[in-house]
């Protein structure tokens, strides 16, 4: 087994004493794709910001492998219109050569926009540009915060295919946040359902192998929805706090019992 790219040990981020990310542990190796799912306010973005080192960690630790090149696709690219900026200039700020930038743009399907102003791009084009920006750096570790936002349905499937293909080409590790469960499941090794703490984590295939589940819902739905049909061994109140946690003080892996 090679050395992991990323190791989280009991990672906790708290705001005003309230944990937003609560004792999350995970490891990511080269070639892994981990998808983080969960409701709004579950701390998904906070978790990846902590991993990236742009969010202070309250306790626990984040360990990244030495000399790791990180590619980050942030949730938004909000640009000041007062700053005149072309796609080419934005790409070249990554410090990579023009050829590498062009190749990265071609890969994400926006190669023709090299000369365009960045302010005239659509939402979907911006997402592809951000992905190309991350790619140009040839990352060992790729972090994506809702990469398919604003991308049309056909484009979404293509985008997740692309992410999987990039994982193979670059042999990098990937952590992404996504709401597009139907599309993500096939491209993912491991899903983590986050609601401050890790509600459950596992491999989509394990869940979808449950015969009763497949019989009831069919394979495609099982693939995408299985992960939402796990039994919690605890409940959440409106704030997402765990109620009745005393019964199962350690609920990081709550299992996947099904009807």
């Amino acid at each position: 087994m090679t050395e992991p790219l990323v190791t989280l040990d009991q990672l906790t981020v708290a705001f005003d004493g309230r944990p937003i990310v609560d004792r999350v542990s995970l490891t990511l190796h080269r070639g892994d794709i981990i998808t983080v799912i969960g409701p709004n306010g579950a701390g998904k973005t906070t978790l990846i910001k902590a991993i990236l080192g742009i969010q202070k960690v309250t306790s626990g630790s984040v360990t990244l492998a030495d000399r790791l090149t990180v590619g980050y696709v942030p949730q938004h690219l909000n640009l000041e219109t007062t700053l005149p900026l072309s796609v080419q200039r934005f790409m070249s700020l990554s410090g990579r050569s023009l050829q590498e930038c062009q190749a990265a743009l071609d890969k994400t399907g926006v190669g023709h926009l090299m000369g365009a102003s960045i302010h005239h791009l659509s939402g979907g084009e911006r997402q592809r540009l951000l992905l190309a920006r991350a790619l140009a750096r040839k990352p060992d570790f790729l972090v994506l915060d809702e990469p398919a936002q604003g991308v049309d349905i056909n484009g979404q499937a293509a985008l997740y295919d692309l992410i999987r293909q990039l994982r193979d080409d670059l042999h990098c590790g990937v952590i992404m946040i996504s709401h597009d469960l139907h599309l993500v499941m096939a491209a993912t090794d491991k899903v983590i359902c986050l609601n401050q703490h890790v509600c459950c984590s596992g491999y989509p295939a394990d869940i979808s192998h449950d015969p009763a589940f497949i019989e009831t819902f069919g394979q495609p739905v099982a693939d995408s929805l299985a992960v939402y049909h796990h039994h919690h061994n605890h409940h959440h109140d409106l704030h997402g706090d765990v109620v009745d946690a005393g019964r199962h003080p350690d609920h990081k892996e709550c299992g996947h019992a099904h009807h």
């Binding site: 742009i54 942030p74 000041e80 007062t82 072309s86 934005f90 700020l93 920006r133 972090v143």
Partner: protein, 270 residues
């Protein structure tokens, strides 16, 4: 050299040469003020310059040094305060800007022995530029231009997307501090020409004018320099011929150019 001496003996030429030196750095720094939405921030720093002058007299250090130190301290205080988020940033800036100005004025009034030309400090003075000031301006300009050139990619990247810059290993916080230092320096040297109250105008009007025509960040900084030259040259000439106050004349010229460009030029496509 006699020619240079003859030029530098003339107060108008001293003011013009000094003013052009200020415009040289006010252009690029003004672009950062516009890009980072720091106009009010720049104003606050500039207002605190008067407090710096008062303190310089109190502890008898050169005016420029006193102004730079005061601006830097205030800039750091502002960054720290704004992190706590108990008050909105613009409220905080408003409090500090006017308090610093008021404390400066009150402190000066306690020192009757000190004769300062308050109008000159607030609105600039064509006659005030000494040879020593020219040294400060061009020394400061050289430092700022070298810093900008070496740190350009990092400064630009952290302006475009701070988190992305941070992930890519750019020392965002340190660059922010360097930018503050550069602002403090430019305020200390620009004060003589345009005055404390109008420095922000010399920073943002040429930059805003340049935006209309620019197609890249670098292009915008160069254009901002050019428009700064025009504002200083035109303004000081106006001041000399019509005996108008120097700072306001520079700002009026800058504003006229701004109106002219926005009225006539088609916006650049980026």
């Amino acid at each position: 050299m006699p020619i240079i001496d003859a030029v530098l003996d003339d107060f108008f030429w001293r003011a013009l040469i000094g003013g052009l030196g200020v415009a040289l750095v006010a252009g690029p720094l003004g672009c950062f003020v516009v890009w980072r939405r720091m106009a009010y921030f720049g104003d606050t720093l500039a207002h605190s310059a008067l407090l710096g002058i008062a303190l310089s007299f109190l502890i008898s250090v050169p005016l420029n040094v006193g102004v730079i130190i005061t601006c830097v301290v205030l800039a750091i205080a502002l960054v720290l305060f704004s992190r706590s988020r108990t008050l909105a940033t613009d409220t905080l800036l408003g409090i500090l800007a006017h308090s610093a100005l008021a404390i400066g004025l009150v402190t000066l009034s306690f020192m009757p022995d000190v004769r300062v030309d308050l109008t000159g400090l607030l609105f600039g003075d064509l006659l005030a530029m000494s040879r020593n000031d020219l040294l400060w301006i061009y020394g400061g300009a050289a430092v700022i231009l070298v810093l900008l050139a070496t740190l350009w990619r990092g400064l630009l990247m952290s302006t475009i997307h701070e988190e992305l810059a941070r992930v890519e290993g750019i020392p965002v916080e340190r660059l922010r501090l360097v930018l503050m230092l550069m602002f403090s320096l430019v305020i200390a040297v620009a004060m003589k020409i345009v005055g404390v109250l109008l420095i922000t105008a010399l920073l943002i009007i040429p930059a805003a004018t340049a935006r209309r025509l620019a197609h890249s960040p670098e292009h915008m900084t160069l254009l901002a320099m050019v428009f700064g030259f025009v504002a200083v040259g035109g303004g000081l000439s106006l001041s000399w011929h019509l005996d108008t106050p120097a700072g306001p004349s520079v700002v009026v010229t800058a504003f006229s150019v701004f109106l002219l460009i926005y009225g006539s030029a088609r916006p650049a496509r980026s």
